[in-house]
């Protein structure tokens, strides 16, 4: 059976995150006061067979463990077949353009 999972990837504490800083600096100009410590990461959604080595996947590809931390959230029992049409939570998950990491 397949399950859905979300992988949250963020820069490790102590590593300068210029994207987060830029967002944080932009907020007061837009009238959002009192927001600090903004850090920008990314989220990967995927479906995997039970027993898939998600941690290995993160260590080897999705995250760079030297500079990024990751968290895996699984939603057990979410079969990929049939669920997407009826389950409102999975209906929110739309295929789209992956976040463009400029390089």
């Amino acid at each position: 059976m397949a399950m859905k999972a979300r992988v949250l990837i963020r820069p490790k504490q102590g590593i300068l995150d210029p994207q987060g800083k830029a967002v944080e600096r932009a907020l007061p100009a837009l009238g959002f006061a009192g927001v600090s410590h903004v850090r920008v990461g990314r989220m990967v959604e995927l479906e995997a067979e039970d027993g898939a080595d998600l941690e290995g996947l993160c260590e080897k590809l999705l995250a760079n463990p030297l500079v990024e931390d990751y968290e895996i959230e699984t939603v057990p029992g979410t079969s990929s077949e049939g669920a997407s049409a009826t389950d409102p939570s999975s209906a929110r998950i739309r295929p789209g353009v992956p976040g463009s990491e400029a390089g």
């Binding site: 820069p11 590593i15 300068l16 210029p18 994207q19 830029a22 590809l61 999705l62 760079n64 030297l66 500079v67 992956p98 990491e101 400029a102 390089g103």
Partner: protein
């Protein structure tokens, strides 16, 4: 002396890399699907945006079939030079230490910089002198080399910091002004600046040739 210049989908500096190699020897492109380097004497992994830089720069290119051959070539002591995206690929492949992060200024930087040679015990700097300054261009978005303090100290102690940006010229916020590093044997070297774009005075500097001449020297069999 034959150079192999690896080309991934999204590479964009492979032509200049071939032309630079041809100043000192022969060169051919090696397509990313090739599993055999065809007996080349040195490998250059050029700049660009392999696989669109999806996920992280260099993260996907490291799984290309050609990279197994590059690993084997490096393990056997063959000289490998990674430039810009090639440096990112080699770091992602754990063939070089550290990681490349987004520039601290969040902008793409494209300018001529001076770098200083910090080690001559590598395949790419064997013909240079310590402290020698080279004028070469940088052009990158994710060039901020990073290593945790302990690792950086270790690399410095082992002479594996190969290039530093000249004082005041660090374009990306890399720790210790590091512009390029080597593996423990010195045969694999990566740097963010582009020596292949600086091989003719017509382009403002021919200093980049020093690296290709060094590779030639490193790859050539010892004189009898």
């Amino acid at each position: 002396m034959r150079f192999g210049v690896v080309q991934f989908p999204g590479s964009c500096d492979e032509r200049d890399a071939v032309l630079a190699c041809e100043r000192v020897g022969e060169a051919r492109l090696v397509w990313h699907e090739e599993a055999d380097l065809g007996g080349v004497d040195a490998v250059v992994i050029p700049g660009g945006f392999s696989y669109g830089d999806y996920l992280r720069a260099g993260a996907i290119a490291r799984f290309a079939p050609v990279m197994d051959a590059v690993h084997d070539f490096a393990r056997a002591g063959g000289p490998v030079l990674g430039i810009c995206n090639g440096f990112q690929v080699l770091c992602e492949a754990a063939m070089l230490p550290g990681a490349l992060l987004a520039n601290d200024g969040l902008r793409f930087v494209c300018r001529q910089v001076e770098i200083e040679v910090a080690s001559t015990a590598t395949a790419a700097t064997a013909g240079c002198t310590i402290g020698e300054r080279l004028s070469v261009p940088v052009k990158h978005m994710s060039g901020r080399w990073f290593a945790p303090p302990g690792l950086l100290a270790e690399l410095e102690a082992e002479g594996r910091v190969v290039f530093r940006y000249a004082p005041g010229q660090n374009p990306n916020g890399s720790v210790g002004d590091v512009a390029g590093v080597a593996n423990e044997h010195g045969n694999v070297v990566g740097l963010m600046p582009h020596p292949e774009h600086a091989v003719d005075p017509l382009c403002g500097s021919a200093d980049g040739l020093r690296l290709f001449e060094s590779l030639l020297r490193s790859a050539a069999p010892a004189p009898a």
